[in-house]
Symmetry: C2
Subunit: 448 residues, 2 copies
């Protein structure tokens, strides 16, 4: 039978012991009508009996009982004709039914050059963020850079100033690492966000490939006074940050690929700095220059921006590390509970200091906590997926999660955080996000 032929009705052409083959399918047509009708009756009846989940002992009401009037499985249109040609999209794209799953541009933001879009956390599973949905933060838009023209200069307190083409950068020994990246303004201190994306969507995670920054600096040769590296982007903002040399010689990278393919333009194509665990804006995109110095540059992005204004009017500068945080992504704001009974609570946790060691979940607004399971492998400075089985009794509830990292640091409440830092700051709010579940099943931000 050639592949191009649509298949006949393949539903219920046989009893259970003789499932359909290519041959029996063709023979089956009308001859089995009686058997089919009898089986339909059986299915309709039996489908109303739902067993528990034997392995876990949880009562999961997810099966056909929710749809007791369902007829036996009809043959869908998709089986009656060939589909789209193989290779009809040599670079693929999501289903037309997923058009709503895009990065979120806050309606309160005008779409302008210095702005951000948020990853739709509530629609995502696992720990890898697909490149098309990775959050963005630009300071003067997304430049178009021809990699054949792009150069990286390494100069300053080095023995040999060097100028690299992208081809030269790609010749160095490479490494691949899975790391999260988060904007230090995620989510700010104004309680905001109907959805997980709106509330905390300036975080994403990918597998990055590139060269250890240490390799490039050692190629140039560091002079004794070297203490900082000033990185500059080739965007219209000339985005510039000072990076402590210790970080550059530790796990910092110059990356050219993300999730296998070359960086997307909005992620710094063709080359960006990647500083695992540090606030995202320091991972300079479209990087063109690394100047080794003995002191920080105190650029606009580390003076008027990206400092933490305290209650006493003084500002903390160089607050690099993104501390442990977590957020429940399902059920979360904007979603609706599919019914009472079993519900898996799941979300993501991360820490700029290393591995997540524990996530606790509360379903009573923080009065009591249960330890969630962590998806293996748990990687350092990467998103960690957590899950907790829950049985929703249909009553109002407030759910939230609390991450602990390998240093023992525990994610705070917003109250605890602001008690220490005041309310003047904009950055480094790693407080818990709480979702309220109403009796109707509607899920909303519990703090709004």
């Amino acid at each position: 039978m050639p592949d191009k032929q649509p298949m006949p009705d393949v539903s219920f052409v046989s009893d259970t012991h003789s499932p359909p083959t290519a041959e029996t399918r063709q023979d089956a047509g009308s001859a089995k009508a009686d058997t089919r009708q009898a089986r339909r009756g059986f299915l309709r009846k039996s489908a109303q009996t739902i067993t528990g989940l034997a392995a876990t002992g949880l009562a999961v009401r997810t099966a056909a009982a929710a749809d007791p009037g369902a007829a036996p499985l009809p043959v869908p249109e998709s089986m009656k004709k060939p589909g789209a040609l193989t290779g009809s999209a040599l670079y693929g794209h999501p289903s037309e039914f997923e058009k709503k799953v895009v990065r979120h541009l806050r309606p309160t933001d005008k779409q302008y050059f210095s702005s951000s879009t948020r990853s739709p956390l509530q629609e995502l599973d696992g720990i890898i963020t697909p490149n098309g949905l990775f959050y963005e933060r630009h300071h003067n838009g997304i430049p178009t850079i021809d990699p054949a023209q792009h150069k990286l200069m390494v100069h300053g307190l080095v023995d040999t100033p060097l100028l690299f083409t992208m081809e030269q950068i790609r010749r160095f020994p490479s490494q691949s690492r899975i790391y999260f990246l988060e904007c230090s303004g995620n989510p700010g201190y104004t309680v905001y966000g109907k959805t997980a994306a709106e509330a905390n969507g300036l975080v994403s995670c990918a597998e990055w490939t590139g060269v250890p920054l240490k390799t490039i600096l050692e190629e140039a040769g560091l002079q004794p006074d070297a203490k900082w590296v000033i990185a500059e982007g080739a965007d219209g903002a000339g985005m510039t940050r000072s990076i402590p040399l210790e970080k550059c010689l530790d796990d910092a990278m110059l990356v050219y690929s993300q999730n296998g393919e070359r960086l997307r333009p909005e992620q710094g194509y063709p080359l960006r700095v990647l500083l695992p665990g540090y606030e995202g804006n320091m991972s300079i995109k479209w990087v063109r220059r690394l100047q080794v110095t003995d002191k920080p540059v105190h650029s606009r992005e580390e003076t008027s921006k990206y400092t933490d204004l305290q209650a006493d009017g003084k500002a903390r500068e160089f607050t690099y590390i993104m501390e442990a945080k977590s957020i429940i992504t399902a059920p979360s704001g904007g979603q609706k509970m599919p019914g009472t009974g079993f519900c898996e609570i799941t979300g993501i946790a991360w820490s700029g200091k290393g591995k997540i060691t524990r996530v606790d979940v509360s379903v009573d607004d923080g009065k009591t906590w249960q330890q969630a399971s962590l998806q293996e492998p748990v990687l350092s400075k990467a998103l960690t997926r957590f899950r907790l089985p829950w049985n929703w009794d249909g009553k109002p509830a407030v759910i939230l999660s609390r991450a602990t990292d390998e240093t023992g640091y525990v994610q705070p409440t917003l109250e605890a955080l602001t008690a220490v830092r005041g309310v003047n700051g904009t950055y480094h709010n790693n407080a818990m996000t709480a979702w309220r579940i109403a009796e109707t099943g509607e899920v909303t931000n519990a703090r709004l």
Copy 2:
């Protein structure tokens, strides 16, 4: 300074100890012309001196010496104006300079319904294949399926036949796993392929999220005679395969997400079976029906197709497991060596039996071998990235890789494989792929 303003020339506005700030940039314009000119001379001279890689002792000729006439870093156009608006692509796409990086449709194949596209392995880094470049193999095109209409039926030798909506499937406890998927026809036994994609591109790797198949089967309740599960897709081919029950109760999954987002249409949207380590066509896409039986169905795809015809005319049926394989992706066919000297040889290895424990690389067509490093974490039934530093002396060479998995199985040569299996078969060719490097630096398939 508002974000929207383009920045002035920020190159070389200061000596090394005072890198540019937002303020000095604006002051710097013409006043520093003399300093700048002097520095240009210095850079041009020093950039011709290349140091070795101190950390590894490797002589890496990758820096500016390859471009000795290069002028000091000019300010690119991208810094003189704002870039594209933030959020200009709420679902992102690759750079316009990467348009050539697409899935490969063999020119010898007509574009038709039963066909395949290959992942551009030679353009990829790391182990994650982005969804847009994940290989495809369809038997009657790509169906369009509305997830709100899609149903999964579980019936046959079960206590309670069940019918699930996608919403119900998504309520079950989930898991995420990184697994490779490979077509058993990768690459066939005809030596073919100018590039790694053409030669072996029917393999890819992703993070999958879904429900253990075991959970769903236990929800229905397995009867004592249950030994097989017949899975059927909702495509125009009614793609059907028999799966041994042991696999279904082991690591088999029903997956709805790939690399964070929902499955792409060409990967089985909204639901597919995933059988880690088994030949790809058994991971039934667009799955609509799981029938539990006591014997296999012997469908077209396990009789006339996807069996291994031996030298004696007999065929091996049910040869599920994709055995250990590897391929060098760089340097590889169609690429050109950037010069003599340091070259990182890198590629991917995988085994359907578990973890890769070792990859050896030969640069003399198999006479001698060197052990490559494996990128951590090495995951079971996932791609593993390997790397070997090499110093190319500019002479002709033939390079190839050889994978070993945790069972001790070693990837064979094509000669060793065909000596056992003959040349009648189409599937399960896991032989090494060798690339020839010419004195000109051109890389070609060494067996063509």
